[in-house]
């Protein structure tokens, strides 16, 4: 039995639907299409799959897909909670399953009609039927009830403490847009963003403007996880998981961790960074490119600090110095990210992480031996470091 998950699992197939504002079909169908595409990309048979993982938020049951895609029996199925924090958490579940032999090939999927169906930007409503009910009661009556509002509150404090300016947030948005401009799958394909465009766009929740906020997207993304040994027998290029972790910080709430000493700290991602580096034996200098979860532009800055690419409070200088563009020290979100490609709750970013390792990203940087992929912040979250197969 392995004692860590270092080099115990690999992603061998990726699949996605088109990303749109109105898919015109059910989330079940989207999930089936992405799963089928991932299976074909991996070059395995549907009947090889014996495990499935998705988000607790996903509306499509694993067994619905298993029937539709002809997968057959399953020996492992699981779900990961806390919204976008699950983006890599689902891969973490799959990695543990294949490393222990609980399953051989695990599909990780996320499908949503995020624009034409239920829209996440609308936030919480009075119709909550879980224990969240108590939690949200302290925010709903005051109007602090959308994802943008919760992140704006920690962003305001972060900008106050670090001296970050709107132009620094804009730099993240413009850099990622530059990447999306070349990506035909991206909503903002061939639509560049200027600083004027950014500054003149409407305020959503001050200090967050329109382009600081991710899109709402219809679509699905899926990946296949197996062991590095099995991966070697497949023709598809694989990305080996060097280190992977989930993390919740102390004083953690879902999106409203407002009671920590400093609300500008994202302790959950500090935990994930520490564990990813511990498991992999790698450090920030070993990472060549990163898929940094970007539901909002400001959280990209915070995560660059959590993972030690720059000192606390200096992410604004790191991005302004051109480090995160294609020619920079650490190209980020080469697909355009959720700001500019699509919002599939971070799983489209997992796919891009695999492409970077395979060397077939639309914006392939010269060096991509190790790629970081992170999940949502403000929620219990996850992250991983991918590497090339031996």
């Amino acid at each position: 039995m392995p004692t860590t998950l270092k080099n115990e699992a690999a992603i061998v197939g990726v699949g996605q639907t088109e990303y749109s504002k109105n898919s015109g079909r059910s989330e079940v169908q989207l999930a089936c299409e992405a799963t089928k595409a991932a299976i074909m990309d991996a070059g395995i048979a549907p009947s090889d799959v014996d495990g499935m993982v998705t988000f607790t938020l996903d509306t499509t049951d694993d067994i619905e897909i298993a029937r539709a895609v002809g997968i057959g029996e399953l020996t492992f199925f699981s779900r990961t909670p806390h919204g976008g924090g699950a983006a890599v958490g689902i891969v973490h579940q799959a990695a543990m399953a294949v490393a222990t032999g609980a399953a051989k090939y695990v599909v990780c999927y996320r499908a949503l009609n995020g624009r034409s169906g239920q829209r996440y930007s609308e936030g919480v409503s009075g119709n909550i039927v879980t224990s969240d009910l108590i939690h949200w009661s302290y925010y709903m009556p005051f109007g602090l009830m959308t994802p943008a509002s919760w992140v704006a509150l920690i962003t305001q404090r972060y900008m106050h403490e670090t001296g970050s300016k709107p132009e620094d947030l804009a730099q993240v948005c413009i850099t990622q847009r530059d990447h999306a401009v070349k990506n035909p799958a991206a909503f903002f394909y061939q639509k560049p963003l200027s600083l004027d465009d950014y500054m003149n766009a409407r305020m959503i929740v001050d200090p967050l403007r329109l382009y600081d906020c991710c899109q709402e997207t219809d679509g699905a993304s899926a990946v296949i996880v197996t062991t590095p040994e099995r991966a070697r027998d497949l023709d598809a290029g694989s990305a080996v998981i060097r280190g992977i972790a989930q993390g919740a910080g102390s004083e953690q709430e879902v999106m409203t961790s407002f009671y920590r000493d400093s609300i500008s700290e994202i302790r959950e991602m500090d935990v994930v960074a520490r564990e990813c580096y511990r498991v992999s034996g790698l450090g920030p200098d070993d990472i060549d490119a990163a898929i940094v979860y970007d539901a909002f532009s400001s959280i990209v800055l915070m995560q660059l600090e959590s993972f030690g690419f720059c000192k606390t409070g200096e992410a604004k200088d790191f991005v302004q110095d051109g480090n995160v563009g294609l020619g920079g020290r650490l190209p980020i979100n080469t697909h355009g990210g959720q700001l500019s490609e699509a919002y599939i709750h971070g799983v489209n970013g997992v796919i891009e992480g695999v492409r970077l390792i395979r060397g077939d990203s639309i914006n392939q940087p010269p060096k991509s031996d190790h790629v970081l992929v992170t999940a949502g912040i403000g929620v219990p979250t996850s992250g991983m470091i991918l590497g090339k197969p031996d």
Binding site: S125, I134, L153, V205
Partner: protein, 322 residues
């Protein structure tokens, strides 16, 4: 002009069933540039509307117009912005009758459309509108008034019906004080109010204290640590015994946001939401009121004011400290 209600309503009913005027014909035939403009604005990227090659290969065999453009093909151009340039028709006569009696407000409440088929470039669309129904007087959240329903039938140049639309407006007397009336039996919406805090075993007591005009902070019955938001067990000593203290309501803004979008009914956006460091050491989310939004800043001293935000709900709000 003094008119009894019976006389007034009898005059209204004379309009029911009338065509408002000659069929309305748009200035342009169904055409590709207007289709393209619409698709760009609506972010509709379906190629059958804009890409001749893709459209040719589709079931349509060529470019078609988005069905939801139906009404645009008969709308007046820029003259719509200048009411005095509009010719009188039965609909405007009807509105004038309402205006004379003080029902000066108008608000669109419903629009149903049905499409018989796709329209193609080169077709000329006309619309014939009939005043179909006028309701009895209704009390609504925005004032008393009457619902008027019109039905527009759309035809092409050969007289073939291509779709219809039922449009419903409320013609009303604007009330000085919008009342938070419950929904009427006609289903008219009540004035929106803020969402209520769901109350359960673990948080209901705290909201009950707000109702009584007091801001409480939960206090561990064993080790005395204060905690907010309330929860059933103490994270320091794991005691389930607890009591509470009344906050002085004095605090400092730790962080804040200005809520703009999406506009949530009942809240009166833009508003300031803030995280406030209370002097007792716990924090609370609230709204900052009683000052301009651009005066709100990190480090601002604020003090509590428990106020009614509507007829039923009290909230602990914060104002600039005196």
């Amino acid at each position: 002009m003094a008119t009894s209600k019976e006389e007034f309503e009898a005059r209204l009913q004379e309009f029911v069933g009338l065509e408002i005027g000659a069929p309305e014909v748009g200035a342009d035939l169904v055409n590709e540039p207007m289709i393209r403009h619409w698709c760009e604005v609506m972010e509709d990227r379906n190629p059958v509307y804009t890409d001749p090659a893709a459209a040719k290969d589709s079931v349509h065999g060529g470019i078609v117009a988005p069905p939801t453009m139906l009404q645009t093909w008969i709308l007046d151009g820029f003259d719509m912005a200048t009411p005095e340039k509009q010719p009188m028709n039965k609909q405007r006569e009807l509105h004038a009758v309402f205006n004379e009696q003080g029902y000066t407000g108008v608000v669109a409440t419903n629009c149903d459309q049905s499409y018989d088929r796709y329209l193609t470039p080169g077709e000329q669309v006309s619309g014939t509108t009939v005043i179909e129904t006028i309701s009895e007087e209704k009390a609504t959240a925005i004032g008393i008034g009457y619902f008027i329903e019109t039905r527009t039938t759309f035809r092409n140049q050969d007289g073939e019906q291509v779709g219809w639309m039922v449009f419903r407006v409320l013609k009303f007397k604007p009330s000085a004080q919008p009342a938070a009336a419950p929904a009427g039996d006609d289903g008219a919406p009540a004035a929106p109010v803020r969402l209520r805090a769901p109350r359960t075993h673990d948080n209901g007591w705290w909201w009950n204290k707000i109702d009584e005009g007091e801001l409480h902070i939960q206090k561990c019955g064993e080790c005395g640590v204060l905690r907010h938001p309330p929860r059933p067990m103490c994270g320091e000593c794991r005691s389930i015994e607890w009591t509470s203290i009344i906050s002085t309501g004095k605090g400092v803004i730790n962080s804040y946001v200005i809520m703009h979008h999406p506009p949530i009914p009942g809240y009166g956006f833009p508003i300031a939401c803030a995280l406030i460091d209370l002097e007792e050491g716990t924090r609370i989310i609230s709204n900052v009121v009683g000052c301009d939004l651009d005066e709100v800043h990190i480090g601002m001293k604020v003090s509590l004011s428990i106020e009614n935000v509507d007829d039923e709900m009290k909230l602990p709000l914060f104002k600039p400290a005196q």
